[in-house]
């Protein structure tokens, strides 16, 4: 079943109803991006150029140390590039930070929540900082908690939650303001199959409602199912960009995205330090 067909059957679009963005327009335009960390001679990102269309679920795949997290961190304004130009929705990342932050949501691999606050308190806090009015925010939180099966636990402290529950709250905290663009860094790592399934389905619903998703993962099977397009990067450079199906068909000796990935990046270990 194609991704677009799965999305049509989804009922969540009423909660996040922003389908006006057409797929295909470039939402992100990265030109000649370079990042060299202090004390390092080799660049983490090396003259990378990439265009990501509006409405895509775009996977950034690569082995450890390939530069995935650096790219996401630059796009989220957490670190500054050494050189290069980035625009998001026509806005310059260098000069329109505040506007871009309002357009984007970020979900990190780490559970970025306060353990001593309840799920509701965490979400109210982050939502208010996005500038959402209280009543609207509460309604949105209640809907999202219900959608992800967490409404019964809204007043429990996050510190008491299982890994899967924390991941779901962590995801919600990044999209309370209904972002046009969502960055996801390994959103479903280390959790049970049921929680992962709920998260993946939810991401597809979000995408169907118009949210562009930039997604990094080590899980090739998940990326193959979820992503409309992927970029394989290694040593800070893009070595392939295509849909998962195109990548597989262009490499006749490969039967899956994982095979393609291993063929392009090699089988040697990439330990980070």
């Amino acid at each position: 079943m194609k991704s677009s067909e799965r999305l049509k059957s989804n009922t969540f679009t009423s909660t996040i109803n922003r389908g006006q963005h057409l797929k295909g327009d470039n939402l992100i335009d990265i030109r000649n991006l370079v990042k060299v960390y202090k004390g390092r001679s080799t660049p983490a990102v090396d003259d990378l150029s990439l265009q990501i269309g509006d409405g895509e679920i775009f996977g950034i795949l690569g082995p450890n140390g390939a530069g995935k997290t650096t790219i996401i961190s630059i796009l989220c304004n957490l670190i500054h590039p050494t050189s290069g130009r980035i625009s998001i929705d026509g806005l310059s990342l260098a000069t329109d930070k505040r506007k871009i932050k309002q357009l984007t949501g970020v979900v990190f691999q780490d559970i970025a929540l306060y353990d001593r606050l309840t799920a509701f308190e965490n979400l109210i806090y982050f939502g208010t900082l996005y500038g959402i009015h209280r009543q609207e925010l509460e309604d949105r939180i209640n809907n999202l908690l219900m959608r992800l099966g967490l409404d019964k636990f809204r007043n429990e402290k996050v510190g008491t939650f299982s890994g899967g529950m924390k991941r779901r709250i962590n995801l919600l905290a990044g999209l309370l303001h209904n972002p046009r663009l969502l960055f996801l860094d390994e959103p479903a790592v280390g959790i049970d199959v049921q929680s992962r399934n709920v998260i993946i389905e939810f991401l597809q619903e979000l995408n169907a409602s118009g949210t562009t998703i930039i997604y990094t993962s080590h899980m090739m099977e998940e990326a193959q199912k979820l992503c409309t397009r992927v970029a394989v990067i290694d040593y800070g450079k893009v070595i392939a960009v295509a849909t998962p199906d195109e990548l597989i068909s262009n490499n006749p000796d490969c039967r899956s995205l994982e095979d393609v990935f291993l063929k392009l990046t090699g089988r040697s270990l990439r330990d980070e330090f």
Partner: protein
């Protein structure tokens, strides 16, 4: 909307703090215990000498005027608690030495057998020099000088020995003069055949009086409570840098800070709510300690804390100190990478700032170089401010230099924190 963002952030910080109830208890309890212990320990040091009774054993082999006068006189001086032993043989001296060595007495004084006689002999010799025809039949003895022995408890400080020696020498001179004049008078009476009565006053002709320089009519004198309560309250306030820094590092290590940095808010929006919550905690901490100083310390036998008559000045100096302490914590939390770094640097730097700031030892007794360095410690500014409010009844305007310095320290710490996080 900006206000709502600040309010929700303050609420979040307050909830995080209040839900760590053990941490909150420690924040309040530890400085209170510290202030109580240090004040009680230093109470004796800060008392006037007149209030302190030094245990003394006096072995009197003289059994005459000097021995009697010494025993009576130093007993009446008020600073010594005298036990007089009439000396008959060397066993009393032996026992006294053992008692002083064992710490029962701090000082031992031995009046030798011929002490009074030596003075009388000197009188005779002096009169015979002045009036060679008088007292022809009287022959002075050989002993013209006697030695009063002193021995001290081995743990006694040298400065205390000097002080005691000076006090005893002064008293010995006065007693010797009194005996001398009396003996001289008797000799003169014998020469002239008259019976004169000399009334030597107990009080000296020249006396000293200490005037207060403070204009404050309350007349509060520095004592253990007046020094230690504000000084250690400031120390407790500055120790809050450890939980403040810990909260920033925890937020950073758990990824929340990264999330916050992706939100459409400024870095100040992250730091200021923390500052507000910890400033309130510092002020409550100071209030609790001051109330203990006012109401509990007298129950423990200490003087009650006098807070002067200017509550506005007291509030502003406390507020500025709380700002400086919280800002210090924010700077440490922003610069340190780990909890261990922050807690080690925070605690050690607070101890150093307290030491050079006059929390432990008053600045006036420090060496010149340390006095100059002390002027750069925010704890010194706080202590000076509190001293001025408590002892000199200073107004807000009069403590404004200290308030401004503490506020400037806060601003510099916040800017350092922002700069370090943005450049790091």
């Amino acid at each position: 909307m900006k206000l709502r963002k600040y309010l929700i952030s303050v609420q979040k910080e307050a909830l995080l703090l209040l839900r760590d109830i053990e941490g909150v208890v420690l924040i309040f309890l530890m400085p209170i215990i510290l202030v109580l212990v240090v004040t009680l320990l230093q109470h004796r040091t800060f008392q006037n000498l007149a209030e302190v009774k030094i245990p003394v054993v006096l072995v009197d082999y003289d059994n005459d005027s000097l021995g009697n006068a010494f025993s009576r006189g130093i007993g009446n001086a008020g600073i010594f608690e005298v036990t007089t032993i009439r000396g008959t043989d060397s066993s009393q001296l032996q026992k006294a030495r053992q008692d002083v060595a064992g710490g029962k007495y701090q000082i031992g004084i031995v009046i030798p057998e011929d002490a009074t006689l030596s003075i009388k002999n000197r009188v005779i010799v002096l009169i015979q020099q002045q009036l060679p025809d008088a007292l022809k039949t009287v022959k002075a003895g050989n002993s013209l000088q006697s030695t009063i022995s002193l021995f001290f408890d081995p743990v006694t400080k040298e400065s205390f020995k000097e002080l005691t020696r000076a006090s005893l020498e002064k008293f010995a001179t006065s007693t010797e003069n009194r005996i001398f004049i009396t003996a001289y008078s008797k000799v003169i009476d014998a020469i002239t055949g008259q019976q004169s009565v000399i009334d030597i006053p107990d009080e000296p002709g020249i006396v000293f009086r200490e005037d207060l320089v403070s204009e404050y009519t309350g007349g509060v004198m520095p004592n253990s409570v007046q020094h230690n309560v504000p000084a250690w309250t400031l120390f407790g306030m500055f120790l809050i840098c450890i939980p403040v820094a810990g909260s920033i590092i925890k937020e950073r290590s758990e990824g929340c800070l990264a999330r916050l940095k992706t939100l459409p808010i400024s870095f100040l929006n992250i730091l200021m709510p923390k500052t507000i919550v910890f400033v309130v905690i510092c002020l409550l901490q100071a209030l609790a300690i001051f109330l203990i100083g006012i109401y509990l310390m007298p129950v423990l036998g200490l003087p009650g804390l006098q807070i002067g008559g200017n509550n506005a000045a007291l509030f502003f100096i406390s507020f500025a100190s709380a700002l400086a302490a919280s800002g210090f914590g924010i700077a440490i939390g922003s610069i340190a990478s780990t909890h261990v770094q922050a807690s080690t640097f925070g605690s050690v730097s607070t101890v150093i700032l307290a030491a050079i700031g006059g929390v432990w030892v008053p600045v006036m007794v420090m060496p010149e170089i340390m006095r100059k360095i002390s002027a750069f410690s925010p704890l010194n500014w706080g202590v000076t401010g509190y001293y001025n409010v408590f002892l000199r009844n200073a107004s807000t305007l009069e403590v404004m230099p200290e308030i401004l310095k503490l506020t400037a320290f806060f601003v510099i710490c916040i800017l350092a924190g922002i700069w370090f996080r943005k450049s790091g």
